[in-house]
Amino acid sequence: MMTTLILLTVLMILGAIVALESRDLLSGIISLGIIGFALTIIFLVLQAPDLAIVQIIIETLTLVILIAAVLKTTRKEVNDPVNKRKVLLWSAGLIGVAVFLLAAWRALHHMPEFGHLTLRMAQAYVDQGANLTGAGNLVAAVILDFRGYDTLGEATVLFTSVAGVVSVLRKVGRKHA
């Protein structure tokens, strides 16, 4: 399982690099799809079918929307000339990555081993979930009963964001502001 996960992660990183570097925006979007679909397979390998279902459909919808956006605007990436600012940004980015890798290397030694939970709460959910809530699907029991407030907030955030998207995209420009 570990080998599969590492291979898929490498594939995702390659897809991300191609998506960033490609000059043609359409092929950039297609390689962006590699990330999402590889993530779907990772969810399946890790036995999370709930997430895999959502991920594969969301990925397809997002690709369709992005491709529609590219077909309606432009396929060429906008060229920006190399200058001093870019060198500064690159060096700042490299320093950031170095600091992150150093911190991660020190922190990862203290993380629990892969697949071995140390949280007592997780075991309690697994043992008592079906009895306390009556739901056969433990994920549903957690997101709608034990962690119900989270889901309520999430649904409200979705509602608000859609209201924002609709009002921003459909606003007719006022002539006399």
């Binding site: 709930d50 279902i53 699907n137």
Partner: protein, 141 residues
Amino acid sequence: MTLIVKEITRLMVPSIILLGVYVVLHGHLTPGGGFAGGVLIAGSFALMVLAYGSEETKREIKMWHATFGESMGIFLFWFLALMGVIQGTHFFTNILAKGRTGDLFSAGIIPLCNIAIGIEVAAALFAIFFTMAVMRLGEKL
């Protein structure tokens, strides 16, 4: 799109919607739930837009369908959460009987919450798709 795509879409869309409804209703028993089922239903609407084009879709489905469904979904969810307060217990308490684990009608308000989330997610995603792909800029909703 061509006639082949249109006919295949005509055959596929009802089954996709049925699968979405199944995933929503069995959310407390099998993998899936309100989010997954809602996204499936929204995907079937998007397929319809892609196959038949925006003009054809705009005649059948109006923008207010999407916004109305979205508002009703979030309203139903908050109402279910407030039912606990109305009954005199805490916010978001599971006030209905739990039943036997594994039955379709069990787990109290969890299936009802799944239905509310399903309506909201389906309508919300379709509203985004509708504004981005179907409507023209400046068009009245």
